[in-house]
């Protein structure tokens, strides 16, 4: 499934987007942490650090690691703090 990074996560990942196989949000995050070491500060076990959020398909924001993901889903990872 498709992962898109915005802001600081994009800077840390070094890419804007990539494809990652995952069946749940938690699995996706642990895979990302394993694959891209520079993202490890943003990922705690199978969850994002509270300063970051994940959004599913541009619609809902999700945080539960057990959130199921379909092969054609798109997950956006961005800063939680929209202040400025």
């Amino acid at each position: 499934m498709h992962v898109e990074f915005l802001g600081v996560p994009r800077e840390r990942a070094g890419v804007a987007e990539l494809e990652v196989p995952a069946e749940t949000l938690g699995q996706l995050l642990t895979t990302l942490a394993a694959r891209i070491p520079s993202l490890r500060e943003l990922i705690v076990m199978d969850r994002l650090h509270p300063a970051f959020v994940a959004n599913l398909n541009g619609d809902q924001f999700v945080s539960d690691p057990s959130t199921p993901l379909a092969a054609d889903d798109s997950v956006l990872i961005l800063s939680a703090d929209a202040g400025g």
Binding site: A51, V53, S63, L78, S79, A80, G83, G84
Partner: protein
Amino acid sequence: MTFGYHGAYLRIDVSQGLVERVPLDEALLRQHIGGSGLGVRLLLDAGAAGMDPLSPEAPLVFAFSPLVGSPLTTSAKFAVVSKSPLTGRINDSLASSGFAVAGKRCGGDAIVIVGRAPELSVLIIDEGKVRLEPAGEHRGATCRATEAALKARLGADYRVASIGPAGEHLVRYATISHDGRHAGRGGSGAVLGAKNIKAIAVRGTQRVEWAHPLELTAMSRDLSKRSFGPATAKYRELGTATNLLTFNRFGALPTRNFQSGTFDEAVNLSPEEMSTTRSKTRESCVTCTIGCEHIYGIGNGSVRVEYESLFALGSLCGVGDADTVLRASQRCDELGLDTISTGGTIAFAMECVERGWLDEPWLTFGSGDALLRAIELIGSRHDLGDLLAEGSRRAAHAIGHDSIAIAPQVKGLEIPGYEPRALQTMALGFAVGARGADHNRSGAYEVDFSDKVDRRHVTLDAVRHAIETEDKAALMDSLILCKFLRGVFDDFHAETADMLRRVTGWDVTADELRETATRIVSAKRQFNLLAGWTPAEDTLPDRFLNTPLPNDAEASLSRERLDDLVNEYHRQRGW
């Protein structure tokens, strides 16, 4: 002894150049803390709600806090509080850095200015003594030039807050600037300009004592260390401009006077793009360990720029050229103009031209030349600038044609860079905000960017979250701590209660601080009621109601749903 405080404020009548030291009761200080809370209280006690904000008797308050002068990161801040000449409602704007520390060392927990100087003047406050000096040589000078000239003449130990030409011309959204940062929103620069004060220079050595200095120092070290973590990464690494591509991705980037939520040229204005095409440096306020200020090089120098300026002078006006938008932001800084209100009013005028309601054919969306020309006209109140200097609401009433429906404002304060239909908890925050549409007094956008709500279909569940962010903001603005620090706390109320205890010695609890926050928000509401607020003000312009965004049919907010949210807000507030 009252630890953390002087226990008094300085009341300065610039009509006569006289200063009076007015005691402050410890109970009052504990109930309102400092900053915004103290400022609003002082204004209420002075009967300011019923005054013309540009009249000599209208007070202008510079309020410090018990944390100012401490080693706590981000604590060097001050609030500028008055009745707004733009909205006619309470206005509390914050700015940072050395002026806060030096101002408090003049011997007062606040400086309250009343009167009108006989001629354009510099107000000098030296260890609590005041004098006025003619400022004719600074007339028309930029904020930065004024500050530099005064420091060169008076001495490097002075700190200066000044207005630019916009404040001298009483532009209703003129700022007060210190060290390149602005008490931006609501027109406090016009209030100071109406008092014939070009600048305030402060110098002092009177420090306060802390109740538990060793504990405070330990807490400061810990807080500084935590301020370097993931919670502040966005501000350190990319700055608030990070919002640009994120909001564009979610259809929440206000474009062409809120006609759309996406801007095709957004990438040109993003920090990711700009940092590859020009120089960039970072700076921070005094005592701050975050360093959120990103300064970009442009042809004739450099400019510190935030997301709000990039949106307001960029996508909102349809301008996608980075050099133009940076130059526009720089020019606003020099003239002393709030970039959000400047961009919002210009964008509104651009749409009025588009619709044939305003006969200024040069003022078109996407024209960088038009944007820069309009800024000059506003700063000097020449030609069309005289109308636009009044803000979008007053301009709409003058233009007619039901243009008020598209004037991007609430209570007269132009809407910041959050498209309300795509971020509907924020829409509520804008509608009910005491000083108008405001992203600093309501953090409701945090709720929209979370799993607590469906941002395009919020229900009444969103209301209590919006209230929590509003209360938290009121507390941070009164303590005073920078909001960019808020993600660092594990338990905000408990930790800041402990912080206040270490400074003041008071046995403050988390619950007491929650009550204090509610008290401060209620005080702002009380001020507005006395100033003439009616329930009809807690809403959004017609444009945002019953009309979805063109790029997102789901992003639609009905008048009925907004009314339900607002009514529920009032009910939960107990108003």
